[in-house]
């Protein structure tokens, strides 16, 4: 529904605060008598706390309270903010509150913690060996998830012990992933027949790396209690959805939590529903009876700040001579770190099934825990790693079969309501709501001058060789059935309540462009209320997984349509005729064919308050979430209220796609790689906010480049400690690493299963660029040079010098 606002650039209302330093992030708040806390982190990767002697610390002047795991509510076995059984080096054991940070840090050093070392493991394959150590006393793998209860969150899967046999390990060829008993699997189609009729069958193993999320803002938080309520300033991606989590972590009713988070300094999945560490300042503040600031340092963040799951995958793919895939067999060993479970491995399987459309496929996986920092979903969790595992095989097949790299992806591309994933209990498979991947490949190939670049690839100039690569990056792109609340008030303005987070993607404001469009309200008269659960926010989606734009444009479409109907009804009631005789425009509701007969929005708002009932929020729809009901009740009587649940339904599962194109230049004397040019083309539905959308593509592409070439997390295997606790070692992208030319574009084709047509965009560019850059390297120097990421200079140089791959084939932390 492009129009006056949808599809147009605008300046978000928070920008001046951001450039002047007035925007306040969690660590920017102060409270009278505020204490500081420091954490005592486990030096061991797995241990049991036998005894804590804090007497010397407590005797120090200025030390006010110490919080240990014994002070925390039981979370049914899920990760807590402090522990008596640290499962990774760097896991917080206790926290000290003192009058200043210096005193708190000194107190931490004076606390004696008696730790009993326990067996540990840092590599997911090592724990699967017959005699491999377990990361936890009770086992090493997450079992299959139990069926979700009706309406409830998925239950925790069992945690079990799984060991593969020596024969399983012996059966794998050098450098190939052994494939013992999986914990989860599905299959469809006739796999063996698919391989039997293939003209080419390839079977390869690839190791994707773990990377820290490392948002620029760490997970600092400040908390205090007032009249029995917890007030917490903390950094989260999803404001409405974080309050229930904090309540659970702290052990209070969610009505007693006020969360303030107007600005979030990045999250990338690591602050999806907040962070469990938020409970530390909250509980310390209660114990010390004073506000507590928890400043998380970058080093702390490298432990507790979450990381991407690293997947080691082995894929066997059969190809017909025209490049069409005949069968795909994928095996994944996922490392979830010390906690979990995570679903990247499942998302990877679904994504592979979607973007390569194999007529027969099997997916098997083991979801392993290790004594390494905890993982969480990171920007394109799963599909991006699937791109890493599978793309080298597609590239190699195209070269063997003499097919163009764009053409082989085009012939296998999903289109329309493309099916994917396993056969469900209903007997059917899931399908996408829409896919225009072939169109995006064509657009990209033209914009990137693919043929021209391809012609100059592979030719040595001095020590440099260029190569080109392309990859289809997919990701789930939207959820449904959330709520919206908006009010037109007697001041004539439209107030839109926004319960999602402010990550800088602007989706938390973009969602208000929909009611502005439908109700035709001048943008200057639209107020977006966000970032504070005390300001009556509706039940909203998690701002993760490219969900927000899709989920919340739908919800706000429903809310705006509700407001529109109420405007029409009030006009008909006061001015005669039927509601359908009335139109809206110019902030008025007026009779069709007789524009002078109407009410201004200010007048209609006053009438709504006089009429009461459902017009001003005193009567609410039955189907809205209790959180929305509470918020709408608090706002009742302030004006004409649009309040609704998204009941639009949809046919399929919403996915977005970004096609990544890359040209690289490899220096075969140094192994150095320079990304010359990158392009991302989005099949992401209707474009709501062009400038922000293209920024999402470019930012995601840069993250993909970083994963292809630089970024990683390394945990040392013998002592189980992190070797990448600084930016210098974990190597995020710098401004000098970006290609000279970075281009983004989007098809702007509406998704048919959502009223606004918009899908999410944040995730898919990451896998698109990850794959495209690595494919371009393979194009330049050969597809067998590397089978792990990041593809560093030494990997390229060693392989070229020796004429075969020389890197460690399977180890996960290198």
């Amino acid at each position: 529904m492009p129009g006056k606002y949808i599809g147009r650039n605008y300046t978000p209302p928070d920008h001046v605060a951001k450039v002047t330093g007035r925007a306040r992030y969690a660590e920017d708040f102060r409270a009278e008598g505020m204490l500081f806390t420091k954490l005592l982190l486990s030096p061991m990767p797995h241990a049991r706390v036998r005894r804590i002697d804090a007497s010397a610390a407590l005797a120090m002047p200025g030390v006010r309270a110490i919080l240990t795991a014994d002070d925390l509510p039981d979370l049914g076995g899920q990760e807590r903010a402090l522990t008596n059984e640290p499962r990774y080096a760097g896991e917080p054991i206790l926290a000290v509150a003192a009058v200043d940070e210096l005193t708190a840090a000194e107190a931490v050093e004076r606390i004696q913690v008696d730790l009993e070392p326990l067996p540990f493991v840092t590599d997911a394959l090592d724990t699967l060996r017959p005699d491999g150590p377990n990361p936890r006393l009770e086992g090493n793998v997450w079992g299959p998830p139990p069926a979700a209860q009706e309406g409830g969150a998925p239950a925790m899967p069992p945690f079990e012990e799984l060991k593969w046999t020596a024969a399983d390990f012996a059966a794998a060829a050098e450098g190939q992933l052994p494939m013992g008993e999986p914990t989860e699997q599905w299959a469809y189609g006739d796999l063996e027949a698919g391989f039997a009729k293939a003209a080419l069958v390839l079977d390869e193993t690839f190791v994707t790396q773990s990377t820290g999320h490392h948002p620029m803002e760490t997970r600092s938080a400040m908390a205090y209690w007032q009249n029995g309520k917890l007030y917490i300033h903390a950094s989260t991606q999803s404001v409405a959805r974080t309050r229930p989590n904090i309540a659970r972590w702290v052990g209070v009713d969610q009505d007693d939590v006020v969360l303030i988070c107007e600005y979030t300094g990045g999250g990338f999945g690591s602050k999806g529903g907040g962070a469990v560490s938020m409970s530390i300042p909250a509980l310390l503040a209660r114990k010390a009876n004073a506000p507590v600031m928890m400043r998380i340092t970058r080093e702390d963040e490298s432990y507790i700040g979450r990381a991407r799951t690293n997947l080691t995958g082995r894929v066997k793919i059969g190809f017909a001579s025209d490049g069409r895939i005949t069968a795909l067999d994928l095996y994944i060993v996922q490392d979830t770190g010390a906690y979990g479970p995570l679903g990247d491995h499942r998302s990877a399987g679904n994504a592979a099934s979607l973007i390569y459309q194999p007529p027969a496929m099997r997916w098997r996986a083991v979801n392993v825990a290790t004594n390494t920092p905890p993982r969480s979903q990171q920007r394109s969790p799963g599909p991006m790693q699937a791109n890493g595992i599978i793309e080298p095989v597609i590239t190699k097949a195209a070269r063997r079969l003499g097919i163009d790299q764009v053409a082989i992806r085009r012939i296998n591309a999903p289109a329309g309501k493309a099916p994917f994933g396993p056969v469900l209990p209903s007997g059917r498979r899931n399908h996408a709501t829409s896919a225009f991947v072939q169109e995006a490949l064509d657009r990209g190939a033209a914009l990137f001058n693919w043929e021209e670049r391809k012609a100059r690839a592979g030719k040595r100039q001095g020590s440099k060789i260029r190569g080109v690569g392309v990859t289809v990056g997919p990701h789930g792109a939207g959820t449904i059935e959330f709520d919206s609340i908006m009010t037109i008030r007697p001041d004539g303005r439209l107030y839109v309540q926004s319960g999602v987070g402010n990550l800088g993607t602007h989706s938390m404001v973009d969602l208000a462009r929909v009611p502005a469009e439908i109700l035709d309200v001048a943008w200057e008269k639209v107020e977006v209320i966000w970032g504070d659960t005390g300001k009556h926010l509706p039940w909203s989606c998690m701002s993760v997984g490219s969900q927000t734009t899709h989920a919340m444009t739908r919800a706000n479409h429903a809310g705006a349509m509700d407001a529109l109907r109420k405007l029409q009804e009030i006009a008909a009631r006061d001015l005669g005729g039927a509601p359908g005789d009335y139109l809206v425009g110019g902030e008025r509701v007026f009779q069709r064919g007789n524009p002078s007969r109407g009410l201004s929005y200010a007048q209609a708002a006053r009438r709504a308050i006089e009429l009461g009932g459902r017009y001003d929020g005193h009567e609410l729809p039955e189907d809205i979430h209790p959180m929305t009901r509470g918020a709408a009740t608090a706002l009742a009587g302030q004006g004409l209220m649009g309040v609704a649940r998204d009941n639009y339904g949809r046919d399929g599962v919403t996915y977005s796609f970004v096609i990544g194109f890359a040209e690289v230049e490899v220096d075969i004397e140094t192994g150095g790689v320079r990304v010359v040019d990158c392009l991302g083309v989005g099949d992401v539905g209707t474009v709501v906010n062009p400038r922000s959308l293209l920024a999402q593509i470019n930012g995601g592409v840069c993250l993909g480049i970083a994963h292809a070439l630089f970024q990683k997390s390394v945990v040392e295997p013998r002592y189980g400690v992190s070797l990448t606790d600084r930016f210098h070692y974990s190597k995020p992208l710098s401004i000098l690493d970006i290609p000279a030319r970075l281009q983004a574009d989007a098809l702007d084709l509406p998704d048919p299963d959502t009223p606004v047509g918009a899908r999410g965009v944040g995730e898919p560019p990451v896998g698109a660029a990850y794959g495209a850059v690595m494919n371009a390297i393979a194009d330049a120097v050969g597809e067998d040079v590397f089978r792990r990421a990041p593809v560093t200079a030494d990997i390229i140089l060693m392989s070229l010098e020796h004429g075969r791959r020389m890197h460690e084939p399977l180890r996960m932390h290198v």
């Binding site: 500081f36 200043d100 840090a105 470019n698 600084r726 930016f727 710098s734 401004i735 970006i738």
Partner: protein, 199 residues
């Protein structure tokens, strides 16, 4: 003059920074209650020139400029992203030169002119040309790194008002962004350079 990251850090160290270490980090915090000063310690009550104002402030000898700005003077626009001279989020100008304020001891800048992001706005809330350019181009996303980038760019543009994209990229390469549409950051700061030349 082009400032590479290495030269930048070298400059900061020469200017009185302390090399990072865990112990230093833990002890870098400012006390809100004030610690008792040991005999022979430096004078604690300083006058700092911050954003054109003379500010009296009680500073511990080991206190960093970032902590003084954020916790003593209420200037929270200066962000702490790494605490150890890696990310640039805390960049401020000291006598017009960008410095990582997490790695500058407050005592070393007593007689210097300190400008933080809060000091860029002109009278009546008129944005600095670089700030205006960032708004116009929507240069940043989460914007936690923004103050550091803007201060680094403002400082760099004083030495080179007409940079190429490449020169400006080098000038601000001591700053990290994790939303990392660096291309747009650069575009917005190049526009800032253009606005500055016009004013």
């Amino acid at each position: 003059m082009s400032l590479s990251r290495r030269n930048f850090i070298k400059g900061v160290i020469a200017g009185g920074a302390v090399a990072s270490s865990g112990a230093y980090l833990f002890r870098s915090a400012g006390s809100l209650l004030g610690q008792s000063s040991a005999p022979g310690s430096v004078e604690r009550l300083l006058t700092l020139n911050v954003n054109g104002q003379m500010r009296r402030v009680d500073v511990m000898k080991q206190e960093t400029l970032a902590m003084t700005l954020r916790y003593k003077l209420g200037l929270t626009g200066t962000k702490l992203g790494c605490d150890r001279a890696e990310c640039g989020a805390c960049t401020v100008l000291v006598d017009d030169v960008p410095h990582y304020s997490c790695s500058v001891l407050t005592h070393t800048v007593r007689d210097r002119r300190i400008v933080s992001i809060e000091g860029l706005e002109g009278a009546g809330g008129v944005l600095h040309p670089v700030q205006q350019a960032v708004v116009d181009e929507q240069g940043f996303q989460c914007a936690f790194c923004l103050p550091g980038f803007v201060m680094a760019a403002v400082g760099f543009l004083k030495t080179n008002p007409t940079p190429t994209r490449e020169e400006l990229a080098h000038g601000i390469s001591g700053n990290l962004c994790r939303c990392q549409d660096y291309d747009k950051i650069l575009t917005s700061l190049m526009r800032g350079a253009e606005y500055m030349r016009r004013t």
